[in-house]
């Protein structure tokens, strides 16, 4: 019987160890490791990568004269173009999960950025116009300030919103507008991963 007692005590201890270790799953532990800097992890590769695996793949044809713009963590992609007179325009593609804010908030933010007063809901319908790309129906807004101008197009699909913006000095934006229109027409989404 003494032998039995020992066995049962051991069993008890063993059981407790299993139960306690069950509480300490390793998904709560901080990991530290070193990675050799690989060429594939350069900032350009990082920027070109999709935002996460659930993000649909977006493709476009880049107009001639547009170069890589200043990178930003906010942007999915960034381009820039310089006119003959040295004026620069900025082209940005930004994406957010969800609706990315109301149209009124967005239009007013773009207006404020170029020094215009906010509009109310009633005036909004005269500012927003539809634009038909090859695959996508965009909403667009052309916001013209005293010096600057912003052409914005956006689309909401599959739980994300995508914003395409051309902004810069008034004349430069006017010159780049045909290229921006052609660029918007070329934008298309590949299907999600399955």
């Amino acid at each position: 019987m003494l032998m039995h007692n020992h066995v049962f005590r051991l069993l008890f201890l063993g059981g407790l160890v299993i139960l306690i270790s069950a509480c300490d799953r390793n998904d709560q532990q901080i990991k530290v490791y070193r990675l050799v800097k690989a060429p594939s992890e350069s900032p350009i590769a990082e920027k070109a990568a999709p935002i996460n695996s659930a993000t649909p793949q977006i493709k476009w044809e880049l107009p001639s004269g547009w170069g890589e713009g200043s990178p930003s963590t906010m942007r999915y992609a960034s381009f820039a173009a310089t006119e003959d007179n040295g004026e620069k325009v900025d082209i940005s593609i930004v994406t957010f999960p969800g609706d990315g804010g109301s149209d009124l908030d967005n239009v007013n933010r773009w207006r404020q950025q170029i020094g215009l007063a906010a509009v109310d809901e009633g005036e909004l319908s005269s500012i927003i116009a539809p634009f038909q790309g090859k695959q996508i129906n965009f909403s667009t807004a052309d916001v013209v300030g005293p010096d600057s101008r912003t052409l914005a197009a956006w689309v909401r699909r599959e739980g994300r919103s995508w914003f395409f913006k051309l902004s810069g000095p008034k004349d430069a934006v006017e010159k780049e507008k045909p290229k921006f229109v052609k660029f918007l027409q070329s934008v298309r989404f590949e299907k999600d991963a399955v």
Binding site: L11, Y33, R109
Partner: protein, 391 residues
């Protein structure tokens, strides 16, 4: 007293109580999936000692029912204890012993699988090489010291720790990571500069232009949570332990793409919230993905990935074809063909690390052998008695 405890843990009543509790738990867990989704239910009902109420509270909770670990653990102890106590070695009982041993291996294997198995995914485009897989259900905050030109030092803080801890400290970090807000699911929006509507809750990096709306945790298997946190970086003097003035607050979210950078004491650091990564000592390169369809339809007939496995430590470099039911097994991990991008430009491999994957097979063989021996023994005995009776 000890005898009473021994009687209790070896009693058949405990076995019945555990089996009944397991049935109730499975039934309740199945119903709860409607609201909470399979993964959350697995955590709350089966990968826990108790089912707690209220389920979402961080503060006071009360246990309302034994959880899967407690029921399974008790059943395992009960089975082993009863077996040891009543163990008598005779050939007549060989079948019973084998059946019990098989059940013990199955229960223990289930527990070990639950504790140590890790599932992740590796998504590869044509020609791409990766030496890590990603957990699609858990995020991590990677704090990366990029100062050294040769290597990056990564400190990966699991999402769960950000949720449960207010101040994260680690010897690899010369600062505290103070969690100001945590959202297990959220929506990010550009903040309205006019001051109307939700405002940013971080003051550095991209977060200074973004507002966060908390969302209920996604429960459907095909929905993804957008984990977001606001963290404050508070430098610590390593010698005295005193804290310096805060460097500011950053918004980190897996909805944001590239890492955010800051500097402290001539060191450059990056912050990025991303799916938790599991690095491997070898790399996998996708050479070719093939996708055959039934003629005239879009229905997949077969899809397969030709990958190159390179392990410098073992001087291994070989091409492997991974396709349905023909996984690649290497270094304790199994790579299954799990999916693909619809334009066939990328393959998705499921990576399973399960040290006890053989346990169910071994257990089934042992239980089957035990039952066969036991029934054969009774059948032979019955046949003999019948023959004697007739004679």
């Amino acid at each position: 007293m000890l005898y009473k405890i021994v009687d209790l843990i070896t009693s058949l009543k405990l076995t019945i109580a555990c089996l009944a509790a397991a049935m109730v738990l499975v039934l309740a867990g199945t119903f709860a999936q409607v609201h909470f989704g399979i993964h959350l239910v697995q955590q709350r009902y089966f990968q826990s000692l108790f089912v707690w109420w209220p389920p979402d509270a961080r503060g006071f909770q009360i246990p309302i029912f034994p959880g899967g670990y407690l029921v399974g653990g008790l059943l395992l102890i009960n089975l082993i204890a009863a077996h040891v106590r009543r163990f008598q070695w005779t050939w007549r009982k060989l079948g019973i012993h084998l059946t019990h041993a098989g059940l013990i291996i199955m229960l223990a294997g289930g527990l070990f699988t639950d504790l140590f198995a890790v599932e992740s995914h590796m998504r590869l485009t044509n020609g791409e090489a990766k030496n890590y897989s990603e957990d699609t259900r858990h995020d991590e905050l990677a704090v990366i010291d990029t100062t050294n030109p040769e290597f990056d030092q990564v400190t990966a803080i699991p999402e769960k720790l950000l949720w449960s801890t207010r101040v994260v400290e680690h010897p690899s970090l010369p600062f505290q990571v103070v969690v100001r807000s945590f959202f297990s699911n959220s929506r990010l929006e550009m903040a309205n500069e006019s001051g109307n509507g939700p405002q940013p809750i971080a003051n550095r990096g991209v977060g200074a232009q973004v507002s966060v709306q908390p969302l209920a945790r996604a429960t459907a298997p095909d929905e993804q949570n957008v984990v977001t946190a606001v963290i404050e970086i508070v430098p610590v003097d390593l010698a005295s332990g005193a804290t310096h003035e805060s460097l500011g607050t950053w918004l980190v979210s897996d909805a944001l793409g590239a890492p955010q950078t800051f500097s402290w004491m001539n060191q450059t650091w990056q912050l990025v919230m991303r799916p938790a990564r599991y690095y491997k000592p070898y790399s996998i390169t996708l050479q070719k993905f093939t996708h055959e369809r039934y003629a005239g339809t879009e229905i997949p007939r077969n899809f397969a990935s030709t990958v190159t496995l390179i392990d410098p430590d073992r001087s291994t470099s070989r091409d492997v074809l991974v396709y349905m039911n023909h996984p690649l097994r290497y270094g304790g991990e199994t790579f299954y063909q799990a999916g693909f991008q619809k334009d066939d430009s990328a393959t998705i491999l499921q990576v399973v690390h399960n040290p006890s994957f053989l346990a169910p097979y071994v257990a089934c063989v042992i239980v089957a052998a035990g039952l066969l021996i036991q029934f054969s023994y009774h059948l032979v005995g019955f046949a003999r008695r019948r023959r004697t009776a007739i004679a």
